[in-house]
Structures are given as structure tokens and as C-alpha cells.
Amino acid sequence: MIRYALKMLMGDRARYLGILVGVAFASLLITQQGAVFVGLMERTYSFVSDTPAPDLWVVDPDLEHHADSKPMLKQELYRVRGVEGVAWAVPMFKSFTKLRLPDGRRCGCIVIGVDDETLIGAPASISGGSGADLRLADAVLVDEADVSGKLGLTGNLAAALGGRTRLSVGDVLELNDHRAVVAGTFKIQPSFFWDPVIYTTFTRAVSYSPSERKELSFILVKAAPGTDLGALAERIHAATGLKAYTEQGFKRLTAMYILQKTGILINFGIAVALGFIVGTVVAGQTFYNFTMENLKYFGALKALGTSNRQLVRMVLAQAGVVGVLGYGLGVGAASLFGAVLGGTALAFSLPWQLLGISGGAIIVICLLAAALSMRRVLMLEPGIVFRG
């Protein structure tokens, strides 16, 4: 009878497609909006992801997110190094600075200074030039994504250089009136923040900034092998009063800040809720219409001896099939969307958890849609079969 129930559903092309479209739409909207949301969230902490694997980030206890500026005293580095279980600790400096490009254009930029000796904290993926080139005089690294965009050459200079618009190794910048030479480029993930990012050594980064008493933005800590990170973070806090985060914890701190301080969650929440509601209404309404249209056949089946249990199974099978197909179509369309726009400025990330969430939402939609219909079928008096 299940097979016949499905034939009944699919034989009614228009309604079948209507229900499918409703479910697929909901699935698409929930998955796609969810993926853009997750993608954006990942970008908010891309700086943390891009910094090669320290075990702990030690920061000022009042720091609210990674882009927040609450520098610490240089001495804190030595105190952290003294905590039991710390294998090594290196400083990192991050500040916002004025940048003057070779063609005279000016903009703001983020300068990140990594440990002069070890260069720990510099991006892992360095393309033009090498990380070691940072040790050359006045050397800085620029973002591969910016060399022909934000930091590209324009105007007379570009013309004088025979139309070269790419900023290249050897070009000279001015950072807060200090000379800086491009020594190479690095690749990092697209960020939620828009200012160009420039890496250099800690000492140079500090010298590019107006002088300040506190010049330590982060301390990157490597734990001794076999050390429990949670316990180490607590020891660091107890010894120094500073806060230590794992990579996950630091990402979460940033993401939660953005979620709480901006309307981003509500906006995406509304889009997802809208997909859910519209999908439920469209699928539920069409499914209900389908059932009503077939009510006399359900009545006949009931008279012929179909039990309520079998009828419930038939309706659930119908809802299940449109659920699975609609979900597949929606998720497929969302993935296609992601694949086509992948590598562009659009944020899109589809982790399996999100597939689970949209799958759960689709199950709820189908159950809601089926519930109304099921009620009608169960309440149906088989006696109606004899009525014209």
C-alpha cells in the first residue's frame, strides 16, 4: 500500500511539485543562509586561524575580541615564560597604522609584528619571497589578495612602470612615515575586516606605531608536551592575572562578541526562520490540498478495510518522500551556490552540523505538513464513500 500511496502522490504532478518546491525552498534557504552565516563567522576569527598553531593566546583580561586593542606591558612576556608548563612564549604586536603607497595613495592598515628571532606567528603560506626575508632591513610582507587591489599601483606611477599595477617585491611603502620594503607576499583567508594586513617583525611593528608604554598585544604560548591546556591557562591566569585562551576559545570569544554586539545573528535568524515558515506553509498547504483532493479515495480505502495505522503510514511515506527529495534538492542547490561562488568575496561554509540542522528543520516541516493531513484522514468517516 505504501507503493500505491507514493503513486497517488507522484501521479498528482502539480501538487507533488508544489510540495517539493516548498520543502526544497525551505531547505535551500536554511542551508544557504546558514552557510553564509557560518562563513562570515569563520571570517571574524580568520586572524586566529591564520596564525600557525600556538597552544594558547595570552591577552589582557579585559580583551573582548581579537581585533580589540588592549596591549599589555612587555614584562608580562617574562612572567608568562616563568609559568610551569610553558615551553616557550613569543610576543605579538598588532596595531592600526597609516600607510602611504608608492603611488602616493594613503590608507589605514593593520600591522602585525611577530617575534624578531623566531618569526613565530607569521603566516604559514608565504608566496613571493620567503618568511626569512622579514629579517632584511625594513622588510614587510603584504597580503597576496591586496597586491593588485587595495595596495595596487595606479595613475602616473603605473603608467611610468609600463602599466604594472601589481605591488611587487622591492617596492617601497611608508608606514607612519617610516620606510618599509615589500619583501614578499602571504596568503591568508578572506577576513571579516577590511583593512589591508601587513606582517613585519615585532620591533619594526612597534617602531611604526606612535610610541606607547604598553606594546604587547598577544603572547603566543607553546605548552610543554603532555601539559593540560586548561590547567595551564588557569596557572597563567593565577600567576599573571592575564587571560589565556586556546585557539577554539579565542575564536569563540570573538564570534560571541560579534553575535552579541551586532544584528548579524538576528538578521540571519530571520532569513532562516522565514525559509522555515514559508517552506512549512507552502509544503503544508499543498500537501493538505493534495490530501483533501484525494479524500474520497482515502475514504474508499478506509471502507475497503484500510486501517488507520496503514493510512498513517501511507501519509507519512508521502511526506517522507517529499522530505528527502526536497531536502536533497535544497542542499544540492545550496552547495552549487557555494561551489559557484567559492573563492569569491562571498562567505560560504557548509559544515556537516549545518546539514544536520537543516535536515532536522525539514523533518519538522514534513511532520507539520503531514500532521494536518493525517488528522483529516483519521477523522474521515468511511461512510462518506456513499455520498455523491
Binding site: 500500500m1 503513486k7 479515495y297 480505502l301 478506509k302 475497503l304 496503514q310 468511511p382 461512510g383
Partner: protein, 258 residues
């Protein structure tokens, strides 16, 4: 075409046949309060195995209500009613559904064939409901359709068939699982006269082989000759049971009198 059916109408007394349907004092009201409709007001009726009983009477007299009660798709208010000794109101809803599925075949005025299934699939439904596996059910459905002359149309959907053909499919569905009682509500009223006559011939010929009981509700006095007995209803009661239409309306009955 109005040939007299092969088996001429006969009358039976309650003593020479087993009782298929037994009703005493059956009442049924629709609605409550001022708007109550007393559709059945004390029905006494027996239907015997091996007979075709027609239920006739003016519109609104309660014919459909009565066969709904007999077929167990509608609950009566008072009185006794049993089918092959079983009283529907004593059964649980599940037992009632099961008993109906095994024991009773249905033919409806508007056929009620599922339009998206082939006619073989439609006919196989009662078998599936009785636990026959799909392959065997389809096979038996096709055999049944051959009996009613539709062996070459088994894979068509109902809407490609004429009204008479659809009713033959419905009859196949009503009989395929060998139910002991078949109820038909106005099986010919959606059909033209000649087609109706053929459908009745088929019903009489195919359904009456074996010891089945048939209850046929009809307005159509041109098919009265197919009945073994005719029960006439008026105002919620059976007021006459006769052996032929002539006894009901006299020798010069006209179409209007039914």
C-alpha cells in the same frame, strides 16, 4: 436492450437459506436537537446468502444510510444488525475494519477508482489489505479483470476507460477477494441504460456465482428484473418486500414510480 436476465427472479423464505444480514429495529438519526433527521426509523430486514436484494424507494428515504449501516461504515443508533452473525458495534474499530476488508465488497455510484493507479492496481487493493503479496495480488487482479472483459486494459488508468468499463473495474475490485457480501449504491445511475443493463448482467452473473449475498440500492426500475427480492423503503422504514417489480407497482409500472 431489456432482455430478462438468465436467472429469473425467485423468492426465498427464511427457512431454506442461511441469513447473511439480519436487521431488527435499526434506527439512525443525523444531527441533534431541532435539526435532527430521522433517517432510519426501525428497519427490519433479512438478506439471505445467494440472493440479490434490491433496495428501492423515494429519494431521501434512507437507502444509503441503511447500506452504510449494514456495511459497517456507519454506526447505527439502536436495534440489532449483524452480518454473518457478527455485530459491528460489538467489534473494536480495528476488528471492524478487518472484518469489513475480508467480508464485504463495495461498488459505488461514482466508482471511486484511484485515478493515478492502473486498473489492475486498483483491483489489487482489497487483496493487499488482506495480506496477499503484491505480485500475487496483481496476478489475481488481472485474472479478475479478464473475467469482466478488461483483460487487455489492465495497465490503463481509470480515466482512459468509459463509465461502464470503470464500473466493471469497480465490480472486479468488489469481488476480487471473494467477499461474502457485496453492497452496491446506485451502481448503474451514472451509466446509460444499455451500459447499466450490461453491468447488472455482470454483477448478477459473476457476483452470484458462489453463495454471496448482494444488496443493490437503486432508483433505476429498468434493472428491477435482476433482483431476487425487492425491499421498498419509505421514510426510514421498509414497508414492502416483494419478489418482483410487478408486485410493487403493478404490471404497467412506469419509470417515474421508483
Amino acid at each position: 436492450m431489456s432482455t430478462v436476465p438468465a436467472q429469473s427472479p425467485r423468492t426465498h423464505s427464511s427457512s431454506d437459506r442461511a441469513t447473511a444480514v439480519h436487521c431488527r429495529g435499526v434506527t439512525k438519526n443525523y444531527g441533534t436537537g431541532n435539526s435532527t433527521v430521522r433517517a432510519l426509523r426501525g428497519i427490519d430486514l433479512d438478506v439471505y446468502e445467494g440472493e440479490l436484494l434490491m433496495l428501492v424507494g423515494p429519494s431521501g428515504c434512507g437507502k444509503t444510510t441503511l447500506i452504510s449501516v449494514i456495511a459497517g461504515v456507519l454506526d447505527r443508533d439502536e436495534g440489532e444488525c449483524s452480518v454473518f452473525g457478527k455485530d459491528f458495534s460489538a467489534l473494536s474499530s480495528w476488528e471492524r475494519t478487518r472484518f469489513r476488508g475480508e467480508t464485504i465488497g463495495f461498488v459505488f455510484q461514482s466508482f471511486n477508482l484511484i485515478p493515478t493507479l492502473t486498473i489492475a492496481e486498483n483491483v489489487s487493493v482489497p487483496l493487499l489489505l488482506n495480506g496477499v503479496d503484491r505480485k500475487a495480488a496483481l496476478q489475481r487482479a488481472k485474472e479478475m479483470l479478464s473475467v469482466v472483459g478488461l483483460g487487455d486494459r489492465v495497465n490503463d488508468t481509470p480515466n482512459r476507460l468509459s463509465g461502464g468499463q470503470q464500473q466493471r473495474v469497480a465490480i472486479s475490485r468488489a469481488l476480487v477477494h471473494n467477499p461474502r457480501l457485496v453492497v452496491c449504491d446506485e451502481p448503474t445511475s451514472a451509466l446509460d441504460h444499455e451500459t447499466g443493463h450490461k453491468v447488472m448482467e455482470l454483477l448478477r452473473g459473476v457476483a452470484m456465482s458462489g453463495n454471496r449475498a448482494l444488496v443493490v440500492v437503486t432508483h433505476d426500475n429498468r434493472i428491477f428484473d435482476f433482483a431476487d427480492r425487492i425491499a421498498h423503503m419509505d421514510d426510514g422504514q421498509v414497508d414492502k418486500i416483494v419478489g418482483s417489480a410487478k408486485e410493487l407497482y403493478g404490471p404497467n409500472m412506469s419509470a417515474q414510480q421508483a
